[in-house]
Amino acid sequence: MAAEFVTAIKTNEIPAGGVTAIDVRGTRIAVANVGGTYYAFDDECTHEQCSLSEYGELAGTTLTCTCHGSEFDVRTGNVLAPPATVPVKVYPVRVAGDALQIEL
């Protein structure tokens, strides 16, 4: 199936500076609100699979998985600090009206 934008959540359901998880077409995806800009990524740390919406602590665009301290850049998914070594998968997003749409 070709990638397409899917309406996932209302933007006002994602607290500022917070991370919320949703199921989109069977995939558990975390969405972060960084000062009104939204980022979407797999809701699973690449180190030992902790939920990033549950354990993630956001400071600017840096997400710390508080389980074991791995840090990711939510814009790119890149690892900023170990123990994770593998980037977390990120998804393109767009805002349509009051909804956040995620491409997958």
Partner: protein, 407 residues
């Protein structure tokens, strides 16, 4: 001539230093020397996921084996360094090779303490530090077999958990009143004892092992109090000693490890130490601390490399570690020896709490059981050294981040 950077100990600290030297543009040669044959690897999985067979060894490698050559790091693995001569700036290896250096990092880590009691050299008694140690224990891990775990510090506790998770019959012995007693104290330690008992570990506290019995291989563990426990094998985790023998005669100051200042430098200019072996001056706690955990190995290894490059960056990280046991996530941050007050968020008997070790109204350290976010949020409070409102600290309705700004 370009400087020669030499690192003794292809450990997490040593390898991180080598990588950091290259990342930060070191102009010169970087040589990483290690006694183990494997490329540098992380040890946390050895008592947990790797021991249980959940992840392959490759996952524990710090970098792929080819990384070092590709990044201009010369490696000498499987060869122990035996002597350091600061006056001639030479490291001697066990094969009599002599490696000259301009700046040297000692990251030799530690070695397991041995138990010297009757029967201590019987077969079937294991320590755990290297991947070979883990492999030997794995070969014994057949569901239903009986194991005695001697020592319930972090390694003993994690091994006991992994063995129970694999269906072995576990008895754990420790001379203290609880697991992790020396670090966490009785109240918190009791919750860890409960965790292990709830998972079926038989615990024996305030008793020590007097002898191992067996003809060729251990069959019984005898305690001072007179217990005689039948077993198929034994795992001993009673702590480590810093590996400092190569410093003998070097003149480098050794006292509970290699003594270094906040720049990771030893008593000899141009010679540094990091990781488990380094007894370092910590500017926040204003005392020397030697730490045997993953985060310190990485962060201090990197800090030492930056100082080897002449950057003079004090190492003032708030120490932090995790210990996963069963499905519980235990984390500790800070440093404490004794405490006036133990301030608890949540209930110690609830399976989820943050317990803060407080002196003079300041949080010196905190331990969290299934409280990952709270541990992360308390770390700036520890680092600030400010007194905090203990009622707010205890109050679950107060976000710990709101206490960060308080004077």
């Amino acid at each position: 001539m370009a400087p020669r950077y030499v690192i003794v100990g292809a450990s997490l600290a040593g390898a991180t230093a080598a990588i950091t030297l290259r990342d930060e543009g070191a102009d010169g040669t970087v040589t990483l020397i290690g006694a183990e044959h494997e490329p540098p690897y992380e040890r946390p999985p050895l008592s947990k996921a790797y021991l249980r067979g959940d992840v392959p060894f490759d996952k524990a490698l710090l970098r792929p084996a080819a990384f070092y050559a590709e990044h201009g790091i010369e490696t000498i693995f499987g060869t122990r360094a035996t002597r350091i001569d600061p006056s001639t700036r030479i490291v001697e290896l066990e094969d009599h090779r002599r490696v000259p250096f301009d700046a040297l990092l000692i990251a030799t880590g530690g070695r397991n303490r041995h138990i010297s009691i009757p029967g201590g050299d019987l077969e079937g008694i294991y320590g755990l530090r290297t991947v070979q140690d883990a492999d030997r224990i794995r070969e014994e891990m057949v569901p239903g077999r009986r194991v005695v775990v001697v020592g319930m510090g972090f390694i003993g506790s994690e091994v006991a958990a992994s063995l129970r998770q694999k269906g072995l019959d576990v008895v754990a012995i420790d001379p203290s009143k609880t697991p992790l007693f020396r670090v966490l104290g009785e109240a918190v330690g009791q919750t860890i004892a409960d965790l292990h008992r709830a998972h079926g570990v038989r615990t024996v506290f305030e008793d020590t092992v007097a002898a191992f019995e067996g003809t060729r291989r251990v069959t019984h563990v005898v305690t001072k109090a007179g217990l005689r426990l039948e077993c198929d094998f034994v795992v001993v985790g009673i702590g480590i000693e810093p590996a400092v023998e190569l410093l003998e005669g070097s003149g480098i100051h050794v006292d509970n490890g290699v003594v270094v200042d906040e720049y990771c430098q030893t008593s000899v200019s141009g010679v540094y130490a990091a990781g488990d072996v380094a007894n370092h001056y910590h500017p926040i706690f204003d005392r020397r601390i030697r730490v045997e955990h993953w985060q310190n190995a990485i962060k201090q290894g990197a800090a030492a490399a930056r100082n080897m490059l002449g950057n003079y960056v004090p190492y003032d990280e708030v120490h932090w570690f995790w210990s996963d046991q069963y499905d519980a996530n235990l984390q500790y941050a800070g440093f404490h020896m004794k405490w006036e007050q133990l301030v608890v968020r949540g209930g110690l008997d609830s399976g989820s709490y943050l317990a803060c070790y407080v002196n003079g109204g300041r949080i010196d350290a905190a331990v969290g059981l299934n409280r990952a976010k709270d541990v992360r949020r308390v770390m700036p409070l520890i680092k600030s050294r400010h007194a905090v409102d203990l009622e707010q600290l205890r109050d679950e309705g107060v976000d710990l981040r709101s206490l960060h700004a308080s004077p």
